[in-house]
C-alpha cells in the first residue's frame, strides 16, 4: 500500500534527522574553539558561539537546521565559509553518477556470469566463473584501481588518470568516471554474481521448474523465463545495499582518482570538525539510503504478485 509506505518513509527521515542531530551535538569539541584556535579569548569564543547560534537551546537549533534543510539552506561551512548546500550538491554530481555507473556495470557483468554458472553447475564453466568471482571479492579495489590507471591512463593513454573536469563538458566528465566506476564495480559484480548463482540454483530445484520442463521448455528457456525472475528477490536486496554503499563508501577510490565525491567531503569535514557540513551531508546520505530501500520494496512488489497489496 503506497500511502502507508510513503508515510513510513517520511517518518523514517524525521527519525534519522533527530538521531544525526543528537549524535553530532554530542561529539566532544566546540566548533567555535576549532575555528578560532585553542588560544582564543573566552569572550571571542562566546561571541562566535552566539553568531553561529550555538548558544541557543537544542530544540531551537534542531528546528532551525531541519527547517533550513527543507528549504535548501543547510548553513555555512565553518572551514570554507561557503554554503553547505552548494558543496553537497557539487559532490553529489560526482558521487551519484559514479555509483549508478558502477552499479550498472556490476549488473551487466553479474547477470550473464551468474546465469552461466548456475546453468553449468559443477562443470568447468561454473568453477571458472566462481573462481573469478572469488578473486574479484578478494582483490583490494584500490590496488585494482591503480592497475587500471597504469594500463589505461599511463600506458595506453585512453582515459584520464584522475581528477574531475565538471559537467560543463559531459563527455570529459563521463571519461573521468569510467575507470573509477570499473574499480568500484569489480567486487560488487563478483558478489552479485555469486548471489545470483545460488538464488538461481535454488530456484532451478523447485517443482514449478520441473512443471515447465514437462511443458516442453528447454533448459535455457526455463532459466530465462521461470528461474531468473524468481531468483531476483535476493538479488534486489543486495543491489539496494550495494547502491547505498557505493554512494558514500567510495572514498578510497575517490582518493585514488582525486575525485571530489561525497565520501571525501564527509571525511574532510569530520577531520576539520566542520560539524555543519557533517550533519547535513550525513542526512543527505541517510535520506538516499532510505529512499533506495523504499524503491527496492516497490521493486519486490513489482516482481512478486504475492507482495502486492500489503
Amino acid at each position: 500500500m503506497l500511502a502507508r509506505r510513503l508515510a513510513l518513509l517520511a517518518l523514517a527521515l524525521v527519525g534519522a534527522s533527530a538521531v544525526i542531530f543528537a549524535v553530532v551535538d554530542l561529539v566532544p569539541g566546540d566548533p567555535a574553539v576549532f575555528v578560532l584556535g585553542t588560544g582564543a579569548r573566552p569572550d571571542t569564543v562566546a561571541a562566535l558561539r552566539e553568531q553561529l547560534g550555538l548558544d541557543l537551546p537544542w530544540p531551537v537549533r534542531y528546528a532551525q537546521w531541519l527547517g533550513g534543510v527543507l528549504t535548501g539552506d543547510m548553513g555555512t561551512s565553518l572551514a570554507y565559509k561557503t554554503p553547505v548546500a552548494g558543496m553537497i550538491l557539487d559532490r553529489v554530481q560526482v558521487s551519484l553518477p559514479l555509483a549508478l555507473m558502477a552499479l550498472a556495470l556490476a549488473v551487466a557483468v553479474a547477470l550473464p556470469v551468474g546465469m552461466l554458472a548456475a546453468s553449468r553447475r559443477g562443470r568447468p564453466a561454473d568453477a571458472l566463473a566462481m573462481g573469478a568471482a572469488q578473486v574479484g571479492i578478494a582483490l583490494p579495489n584500490f590496488w585494482f584501481a591503480m592497475l587500471l590507471v597504469l594500463v589505461f591512463a599511463v600506458k595506453l593513454r585512453w582515459l584520464p588518470a584522475g581528477g574531475f573536469p565538471g559537467w560543463s563538458d559531459p563527455l570529459a566528465a563521463l571519461r573521468a568516471l569510467i575507470l573509477p566506476a570499473f574499480a568500484l564495480a569489480l567486487p560488487q559484480a563478483a558478489i552479485l554474481a555469486r548471489v545470483l548463482r545460488s538464488a538461481l540454483i535454488e530456484t532451478l530445484g523447485q517443482d514449478y521448474i520441473r512443471s515447465a520442463r514437462a511443458k516442453g521448455l528447454s533448459r535455457a528457456q526455463v532459466l530465462r523465463r521461470h528461474a531468473l525472475r524468481n531468483a531476483l528477490i535476493p538479488v534486489l536486496t543486495i543491489l539496494g545495499m550495494q547502491f547505498s554503499f557505493l554512494l558514500a563508501g567510495a572514498i578510497i577510490i575517490e582518493n585514488v582518482f582525486y575525485l571530489p565525491g561525497l565520501g571525501r567531503l564527509i571525511f574532510q569535514a569530520i577531520s576539520q570538525r566542520d560539524l555543519v557540513v557533517v550533519q547535513s551531508a550525513v542526512l543527505v546520505l541517510v535520506a538516499a539510503v532510505i529512499l533506495v530501500t523504499f524503491l527496492v520494496d516497490l521493486a519486490y512488489a513489482a516482481v512478486d504478485p504475492r507482495l502486492r497489496g500489503r
Binding site: 500511502a3 520441473r210 514437462a214 516442453g216 528447454s218 533448459r219 523465463r225 521461470h226
Partner: protein, 521 residues
C-alpha cells in the same frame, strides 16, 4: 501409442528399475502402484526424459516406432508437452508463483503450436474451462497464490493437456488433496481420458484409487513389475505375494482395545472461537474476519480415541493449534484436566499434551542427533539424570534400536522417522496425543505397522488421542468416536462405525461418498 519395453534405470551404477514393460493404451487408464522408493516416479521421469542428473535409462520408450531414449535433449523438448504431459504430487509448488495462470497454460501452446500470445491465451481459456475453472470466477490474470490446492492441481492439468498430448502422466496427483477434492480431480482425469482419447498413466500408492479409476494395473516392487493386467483381474487374483501383502496392509485394522467404560473427561473444549483478520480489501476498509473455529465444543475422555475429519480449510488444524495451547482463543475455553489451556499455560500443564504431525522430516531439526531430538520435550518437565536411559526406553517402545541415538534424522526412512516422532511425544508420558495426519505420508505396509504400534501404546499407557485425518479408512480403523467438521463447526459426531456407515449430515455423506473404496476381499 507409447509403450515402455525392458526399461531399466541406474543411478550411479546402482540399478533402481529393472526391465519394465508397460503399454500405455490410448483412451485407457493404466496405473502403476507400489510403495515409495519402489521406482515408480523414476520410471515416469525416464519416459518423459526428465531423469535427475546421474540417472541413466536403457531399454526402449516407444513412440511411433522411435525409441525416445535415443533422442537428443532438443528432440525430447519438442515432444514434451506436445505428445506427453505430466502432473505431479504437490500442487502448492507446481506452478510458478510469479506468472499468471493464463500465461502458464498458454506457454506450452506458444512453444508447440507457434501461436501468438492472444491466440494462445484464448486456447488457454478453453482448457481452463474444461478442467472446471470457469472464466467468471477464474480469470486468466489470477496468480497461483490466489487458488486452493485443488484449483492449482486443475491449473497444472490444464497446463499438461494444453497441447492435447497423447499421454498424460499423473504422479500421485491427489495424494496431497482431501478426499472430496481427490474425487473431483479423479473424475476430471477420467473425463479427459473419455473425451479426448488420451492415455492416462496414473502413478499411486493408493490401491483404492486404482480400483476406482484404472483399466489396467501394474504392481511394482523394488524396481520390478511383479504383476500386471486388467485391474479387476489383478485385484481378484492377487497372484503375487507382494500384491497380497499390499492389500492386506491397506485393509489392516489393529487389534481393538478391550471395550471399557469411558473414563472421566480429560479434555473439554467449550464454545471455542478462533478468528483471523484478513488483509484489507481496499485502503481504509475494515479488515474482514475469517472465523476458522466457530463455537466448537467437544470432550475427550481419558483413554479415549477420537477422530476429527473434514475437508481442507474446515478449521481442523486451527482447532488443533488451540488444543495444543499454541494460539489464544477469541471466545470459549479449553480445559485439560480442569486447568485452562492457552499460550501462557505453565510447562507442567503443557507436558500433558504432545503432538505428532504429518511430515516426520520437517518436524525434526536436521542437525540434531536422535537422542537430543527425542529428549526435547524434557524442557517442559526438567531433564532427569537418567534421560539417556529414558530415551532408549522410548525408542525401544517404538521398536527402534538404541544405536539410532547417535544418528541424524536423514538416515532414517519415513516410517522410522514417524516412529521416532511418536517416541518423542511419549517420552514425558503425556495424557493426550494429537496426531495431525500422522500416517498420511506413509506407505500402506508402514502405515499398518505404525497403527499397530499406536494401538499397543494406547492399551499399555491408557493414552487418549485426537486423530486428525482426511483418510476415512484409517479413522475407521483406530478411533472409537468421530467428529466431522465443516466451516469451523462440528456438524456431526458419534461412534465411528455408525457415523461412517450411516452418515446423516450432507458434509459427512459427501466425505464418505468421496472416499475411494477397496473392493471387498
Amino acid at each position: 501409442m507409447i509403450a515402455l519395453r525392458d526399461l531399466s534405470i541406474t543411478i550411479a551404477g546402482r540399478r533402481v528399475v529393472s526391465d519394465v514393460t508397460l503399454p500405455l493404451a490410448p483412451g485407457q487408464v493404466t496405473a502403476l502402484v507400489g510403495e515409495s522408493g519402489s521406482g515408480k516416479s523414476m520410471t515416469a521421469l525416464a519416459a518423459i526424459g526428465l531423469l535427475p542428473e546421474g540417472a541413466h535409462a536403457s531399454g526402449r520408450v516407444d513412440l511411433d516406432g522411435r525409441n525416445l531414449l535415443d533422442l537428443p535433449e532438443r528432440g525430447m523438448d519438442a515432444l514434451r508437452g506436445r505428445r506427453m504431459g505430466m502432473i505431479f504430487q504437490e500442487p502448492m509448488t507446481a506452478l510458478n508463483p510469479l506468472m499468471t495462470i493464463g500465461d502458464q497454460v498458454a506457454e506450452g501452446l506458444r512453444r508447440h503450436r507457434g501461436l501468438g500470445r492472444a491466440q494462445a491465451l484464448a486456447r488457454a481459456r478453453e482448457r481452463l474451462d474444461r478442467v472446471g475453472l470457469p472464466a467468471a470466477r477464474f480469470p486468466l490474470g489470477l496468480y497461483p497464490h490466489q487458488l486452493s490446492g485443488g484449483q492449482r492441481q486443475r491449473v497444472a492439468i490444464a497446463m499438461a493437456i494444453a497441447a492435447a498430448p497423447d499421454l498424460l502422466i499423473a504422479d500421485e496427483p491427489t495424494t496431497a488433496l482431501d478426499v472430496t477434492t481427490q474425487a473431483q480431480i479423479l473424475d476430471l482425469l477420467r473425463g479427459l481420458v473419455r473425451d479426448e482419447g488420451m492415455a492416462l498413466w496414473l502413478i499411486t500408492h493408493d490401491l483404492a484409487v486404482v480400483s476406482g479409476v484404472a483399466d489396467h494395473v501394474a504392481v511394482m516392487q523394488q524396481g520390478r513389475i511383479v504383476e500386471a493386467g486388467p485391474t479387476a483381474q489383478v485385484f481378484r487374483a492377487q497372484a503375487h505375494p507382494y500384491t497380497r501383502a499390499l492389500f492386506a496392509a491397506a485393509r489392516h485394522v489393529p487389534p481393538a482395545s478391550p471395550a471399557r467404560a469411558p473414563g472421566p473427561p480429560l479434555l473439554r473444549v467449550a464454545e471455542a472461537l478462533r478468528e483471523y483478520r484478513l488483509p484489507r480489501p481496499a485502503p481504509f476498509a475494515r479488515r474482514p474476519v475469517l472465523r476458522a473455529v466457530d463455537g466448537v465444543s467437544l470432550t475427550i475422555a481419558e483413554g479415549e480415541s477420537v477422530g476429527l475429519v473434514g475437508e481442507s480449510g474446515c478449521g481442523k488444524s486451527t482447532l488443533a493449534r488451540a488444543i495444543l495451547g499454541l494460539d489464544a482463543l477469541q471466545g470459549g475455553a479449553i480445559r485439560l484436566d480442569g486447568a485452562g489451556v492457552g499460550p501462557r499455560m505453565p510447562k507442567d500443564q503443557r507436558a500433558q499434551v504432545q503432538a505428532v504431525f504429518q511430515d516426520p522430516f520437517a518436524s525434526f531439526d536436521p542437525r540434531w542427533r536422535v537422542d537430543r531430538l527425542v529428549a526435547e520435550p524434557f524442557h517442559l518437565t526438567g531433564r532427569p539424570a537418567d534421560w539417556r536411559d529414558r530415551v532408549a526406553e522410548a525408542l525401544a517402545e517404538v521398536e527402534i534400536g538404541t544405536e539410532a541415538m547417535s544418528r541424524h534424522i536423514h538416515e532414517f526412512s519415513g516410517g522410522q522417522r514417524q516412529r521416532i516422532a511418536i517416541a518423542r511425544a511419549l517420552i514425558i508420558r503425556p495424557r493426550l496425543i494429537l496426531l495431525d495426519e500422522a500416517v498420511s505420508a506413509l506407505d500402506v505396509q508402514v502405515r499398518a505397522r505404525v497403527l499397530d504400534l499406536l494401538a499397543r501404546l494406547r492399551r499399555q499407557h491408557g493414552l487418549a488421542w485426537l486423530f486428525i485425518s482426511h483418510d476415512l479408512s484409517v479413522v475407521r480403523a483406530i478411533t472409537d468416536r468421530v467428529l466431522v467438521m465443516d466451516a469451523g463447526r462440528i456438524v456431526e459426531e458419534g461412534p465411528t462405525g455408525r457415523i461412517l456407515s450411516q452418515p446423516l449430515h450432507p458434509v459427512t455423506r459427501r466425505l464418505v461418498a468421496a472416499a475411494p473404496i477397496l473392493p471387498p476381499a
